[in-house]
């Protein structure tokens, strides 16, 4: 890898840093790479770039690489990183913004994750509420692992925790309209 002079890079404020600052009030140039965010992150062991490294990529203007990372799909949005950052960098916020943009561009590095949230929202759109039984069944089916967690089905059902029929919001038109309008207002989902 070629050498990079960071202070010079930061001085010239790559586009990405400026964008984050102007649109979202997040100043990633403050990050001094102490690593505290990565140390506390519960999912870091599965990530391809540590949270700290995502911030570094952005500081260097290498947004494309960050957008294609697994990290932004694995982030659990638990906010440990931002809460602990000594420089008050909102890393959680950065993960969120990158994730939305990656999704909009079709960079999907974790298919199951994408399928799961897609089904969840479809259910909300149709029913107004989430039907957890339906969610699990549809997810297993569409993610091609029909027997995943199947052992839990019966015990959950017997304990009254899974219902065959969903609960509905009576006026579902209102929720459907929210979905429609949210998108026309510039939300980023398809």
């Amino acid at each position: 890898m070629e050498r990079v002079n960071l202070s010079r890079e930061l001085l010239h404020a790559p586009e990405v840093s400026r964008e984050l600052k102007e649109h979202y009030g997040i100043d990633i140039t403050r990050c001094y790479q102490c690593g505290k965010c990565s140390a506390g992150c519960p999912v870091s062991f599965a990530m391809d770039y540590m949270p700290r490294q995502i911030i570094r990529l952005l500081q260097l203007g290498m947004k494309e690489q960050a957008l294609r990372s697994k990290t932004i799909w694995l982030c659990a949005f638990c906010d440990t990183c931002s809460t602990r950052c000594p420089r008050e960098v909102d890393i959680h916020g950065v993960m969120e913004i990158l994730r939305l943009e990656a999704k909009a561009r079709g960079y999907i590095t974790h298919k199951h994750n994408n399928i799961f949230h897609g089904i969840f929202l479809q259910l909300v759109k149709r029913l107004g509420r989430v039907h957890e039984g339906g969610l699990i069944v549809l997810f297993n089916f569409l993610s091609l692992q029909p027997f995943k967690d199947v052992l839990y089905g019966l015990p959950l059902f017997l304990k009254g925790k899974l219902h065959i029929l969903p609960e509905l919001v009576r006026d579902r038109g209102e929720v459907k309209k929210i979905f429609k309008r949210a998108r026309s207002e510039g939300g980023v989902s398809k």
């Binding site: 659990a76 809460t83 909300v124 309008r181 939300g187």
Partner: protein, 297 residues
């Protein structure tokens, strides 16, 4: 105290125990809950990671209905609470956001009312001293690991009522009810949210140290205020134990179940017979299942 009540979707299915015990306890503590009519799903993390406007508009519709009724909102589920609170904060902090959201939900919503978690209400408005007075069945000898997870305490600017690194509300309420909270390091560690379901291959790895630490600290059980945490902790113990050649057998309780039990309600009406890690043997062993004299009907 009268409050608008937002139960959220889990409280009628995987979180059924919370759905049963929260109203029972609330009533015993003198809280009047008015369930928001025709409430809709808050969008949970799925809206949050998919569509910014949707993530604010879905919770905002519920808040608008409560605002019309002029009531502050109380939310038992930590995950729903985080989403509703985020919508409140977004609308409060920007006029433009307020106008956009109102357009999307086609209702008026000015964030004049406040969203609070049920735990916050019980801790701040009712308080450990009041709980102590009302205890009919002290939880003596029950060693509890209070597990807060992320959303009750973070981000601190949103969650507000607790310390993000060392929260104490559940510990203090449980002490007041006669239990012994253990000192442990995983109080606010994240349970992995959807990961144990979506990607068990690494999701289960997030849970193991939480079981391990609670056991190491000598806890008999976990206590939580989040259906997501509850389900992850309760449902996956067998599986994770098997992977590591050990057996975890730590029942998980909602805070409302244990406080309800201490106040004299029966295990069944609180939903305590519905857990996957059977909680009844532990309670029986500790002598906490006997009917109480002058107990509640």
């Amino acid at each position: 105290m009268k409050l608008a009540y937002y139960p959220g979707c889990s409280l009628s299915s995987t979180g059924i125990e919370f759905g049963m015990s929260a109203p029972v306890l609330a009533k015993a503590l003198g809280l009047e809950l008015w369930e928001i009519p025709e409430w809709n799903c808050c969008g949970s993390s799925s809206a949050h990671v998919t569509d910014h406007n949707l993530a604010l508009a879905l919770p905002a519709r519920n808040l608008a209905i409560a605002e019309e009724a002029g009531l502050d909102v109380v939310v038992p589920c930590a995950a729903c609470y985080a989403r509703l609170k985020a919508a409140e904060a977004a609308v409060r902090s920007s006029r433009r956001t307020k106008e956009e959201i109102e357009k999307i939900i086609d209702r008026k919503y000015e964030a004049k009312i406040t969203v609070r978690s049920l735990l916050d209400i019980i801790y701040t408005e009712i308080g450990p001293a009041k709980i102590r007075e009302k205890v009919l069945r002290p939880l003596e000898g029950l060693r509890v690991a209070a597990y807060y997870g992320c959303l009750l305490v973070r981000p601190p600017k949103v969650a507000q009522f607790e310390d993000p690194e060392n929260p104490v509300s559940m510990d203090r309420l449980l002490s007041a009810a006669g239990a012994e909270p253990v000192d442990w390091g995983y109080k606010t560690e994240c349970c992995g949210g959807g990961h144990p379901t979506i990607s068990p291959e690494f999701g289960l790895k997030i849970l193991k140290p939480i079981y391990e630490e609670a056991r190491y600290a000598g806890a008999d059980c976990f206590v939580t205020a989040c259906p997501m945490c509850f389900t992850n902790l309760d449902m996956r113990q067998k599986e994770v134990g098997k992977q590591h050649g050990t057996v975890y057998n730590l029942p998980v309780f909602y805070i409302t179940e244990l406080l309800g039990l201490a106040l004299g309600f029966e295990a069944r009406e609180l939903g305590i017979n519905r857990h996957l890690v059977n909680a009844l043997p532990l309670l029986k062993h500790k002598g906490l299942l006997h009917p109480v004299k002058g107990g509640r009907e």
